[in-house]
C-alpha cells in the first residue's frame, strides 16, 4: 500500500516541513517558537531518513532517525531550560534582546 505512494511525495513533504521550520527559525522572534521550528526541521530530516530507509530496504536510516530523536529530546530539555532561565532573568524571550554574549 505504502509502496504505491511515490517517493517524491514524502520528500516534498519533508522539504516543505523543513522550509517552514527554517523560515520560522529565521523570522520568528519568540525563542519558544524558534525552538519549535528547530524541532520541526529535525523531524523533517527524520522523515527523509525514514523514507530513504524504507525505499532502499536498509535499516540504518531508522537507526539514525532514532538517534536524532534522542538528541532532539536532550536538546529540547537543555534548550528549554536555557530559555526558561533567560525568561526568569529578563522577563522576555525575544531573541533580539539576547545579544549580551557578544560583548
Amino acid at each position: 500500500m505504502i509502496n504505491t505512494i511515490p517517493i517524491h511525495y514524502f520528500l516534498l513533504l519533508s522539504a516543505m516541513l523543513f522550509t517552514i521550520g527554517m523560515l520560522g527559525v529565521i523570522f520568528r522572534r519568540n525563542a519558544l517558537i524558534v525552538f519549535m521550528s528547530i524541532e520541526l526541521m529535525l523531524n523533517a530530516v527524520n522523515l527523509t531518513l525514514v523514507t530513504f530507509s524504507r525505499f532502499r530496504g536498509d535499516s540504518s536510516g531508522h537507526v539514525i532517525a532514532f538517534l536524532v530523536m534522542a538528541v532532539a529530546a536532550a536538546e529540547a530539555a537543555v534548550g528549554l531550560a536555557i530559555i526558561i532561565n533567560i525568561f526568569r532573568h529578563k522577563k522576555v524571550v525575544n531573541i533580539d534582546t539576547m545579544d549580551r554574549m557578544k560583548y
Binding site: V25, I26, F27, D96, K102
Partner: protein
Amino acid sequence: MSNTALLSSIVLLPLLGALINGLFAGRLPRRVVEVIACSTVIVSFLFSLKAFLQLMALPVGAREIHAHLYNWVAVGNFRFDVAFYLDPLSSMMSLIITGVGGLIHVYSAGYMSHDPSYGRYFSYLNLFTFSMLSLVLGNNILLMFLGWEGVGLCSYLLIGFWFTDVQKAKAGKKAFIVNRIGDLAFIVGVGLLLGLADGNLDFTYLRKVTALRTLYLDPMMVKGICLAFFIGATGKSAQIPLYVWLPDAMAGPTPVSALIHAATMVTAGIYMIARLNFMYALAPEVLTLIAGVGAATALFAATIGIVQRDIKKVLAYSTVSQLGYMFLAVGMGAYTAAMFHLMTHAFFKACLFLGSGSVIHSLHGEQDIIKMGGLRKKMPVTALTFLTATMAISGVPLFAGFFSKDEILWKAFTNAHAGMTTVYWGKIFFVVGLIAALCTAFYMFRLYFLTFEGEYRGPKETEKTIHESPVSMTLALVVLAFLSVVGGYVQIGFAHVHLLEDWLAPVFAVGSLNVVETMGHSWEYATMAMSVAIAGVGIGAAYYLYMGAGTKIPARMMEAAPRLYNFVWNKYKIDELYQVVFVGTYRSFAHFSHRFADAFVIDFLGVRGTGALAQGIGRVIGRLQNGDVQRYLVVFVVGLTLILYLWLQ
C-alpha cells in the same frame, strides 16, 4: 735606554701626569699637583733633547728612530700599529711642544694660583701635551689622527674650562664641531688612502711607495686625498673657511691660548702637510690652492686684527694670519720656511699671549686695550718682553720673525711648481703677503702702544693694584722673549746659514723635488728690502696714529666710514653668515624631519595609519557580526542556496 723606551716615555709621561692629576687631584695638595704636571712635561722635554742628540749623532740619510709598542688594529688588509717615529721633523716638533709646553706649564702654576679647579686644569693640559706628542711622533696617519682628535678634545675641554659661563661652554663646543668638519674630511681622506696604499698608513711606507712609484696612483685620487687632508688642516689650523672657532677659543684661560691656540695645536695642519709632502708633490694643484688659501687668510685675518679692541682677540686674529703665512709657504713647496716660521711663531706668539695673560692677570680680567695704557711703568718685564715679541712678529730686522717671514715671502716670489698655471701666482701671493705684513706691523704696534705706552685709561681704583707678575710667570716670558730674538739665527738665507734646512732636508727630499727656483738668490735682497720697508711703514703709522701727532685720526676715520668700520669690527659678519646658511639650514632640516617627516608622515600616516586601516576594515566587517543569529541564518541560507545552485549546475 732603548729607543722604544725613550720615545714612549716622551709621549707617555704627560699622559701619566694627566691620569694622576685627573684621578687623585682632589686628594693631593696644590703644590704636588703642580710639580707632577710640570715635571712630567719637563722630563719629557729632556728626553726629547736626548732623542734629538741621538738623532744628530746618526748619519744624515739615516736619521730615523723607530719605536714599536704594539699592534693596534689588524683586520683584513688594514694593519695599524701603536708605534712612534722620530725623524728630524718630529724631533723638532717634539722639542717645541715640550719646551714651550713646559714653560707654559710653569707659567700656569702662577696664573691659575687663584683657581680652585687646578687639578682638572693641569690634567687637561698634560693630556693635551700627550695628544700633541702622539700627533707628531705617531708613525702612521691613524695614530696621528688619534692625537689630532685628542688635541681637539683638550682644546674643547680647556676653552670651556670655566663651564659655568654659557658663552665659554658654547665656544668650546663650537671649536670642537668646526674642527670635526675638518676631521670628517680627514677621515674620508684616510679611507680613500687606505684603498690606494693597501691598508698600510705608515709614513715610511707611504713615502717609499710614492717615491718609488710602485703604486700606480691614480692622480685624481691622490689629489682628492690631498684635498681632503687639507680641508682637515683648515679646521685644525684655523684657515678660511673654518677659522671661525679660533677667535672664540680665547674664552679659555690665557696660558691655554698660548699653548694650544698659538704655539702648538693650531700648527698641526702645517705639520701634517709637511709630513705628507711626498704625497702633495703628486698633487701640485692642491698645493697652489693651499698657498692661495694661506695668503687669503693671512690678509683677511690681519685686516680684522686692525680694529679689534680685545687684547686676546687681536692676538687670535694675528695667529690666524700667521698660520696663513705658513700655509702660503707650504703651498709654495717651501716646507722648511713653513717649519721655520712655525718655530719662531711658537716662540713670539706664546710670549705675546703669556704677556697678555700677565696683563689680564694683574688687571683682574680686563681685556679691552682701550681701557689700558701706560702699563710699561708698572710691569716693566712684561712690557719689555712683549715689545721684543712684537718686534719679532712685525718683522723688525734681526729678530726671529724677520728671518722666517722674509724667507716665506722670498720663496713665494721665486718658487714655482707644476701646480701653478702661471708663475704670476707666486708674485700675487708675495704681494698679498706683503700687504698682510704691513697690517701685522701696524696692528701689533697699535696693540703695544695702546697697552703699554701713554697714560692709563682704566678706572682709577684698579690702577693701584696693578703689579708685575710673580717670577713663575715672568720667567717664561723672559725665556720666550730671548728665543724670539735668537730663534731666527738657525736659518739666515743671505749669510748662508742653513742649519734648519740641512736638518730637515731628508724629510722634504721628495716633496721639494718638483719645486724649482725661478729666480736667482739676488732677489732675496730685494724682497727683504721691501719687507723691511713695509714693516717700517706699518710701525711708523701705528706710532703716528696711537702715540704721535695723529692720535685723533682713528676716531675720525671711524666716523668717516662707520659702515665699513662696523663691517670689519663685526669680522665681516662671517659668523652670522655661517649661522644662517649652515646652522639654520640644518636646523630647519632637523625640525622638518622631526615634526613632518617623522611624526606625521612615517609615524602618523604610515605606522598608525596602518593600524587605523586595520581597525577601519574590522569595524566595517564587524557590522555583519552583530549577534543577531537569525540574520546570520539568512546569510547562511542564502549562501548555501547559492553554493548548491552553482554546484548543481
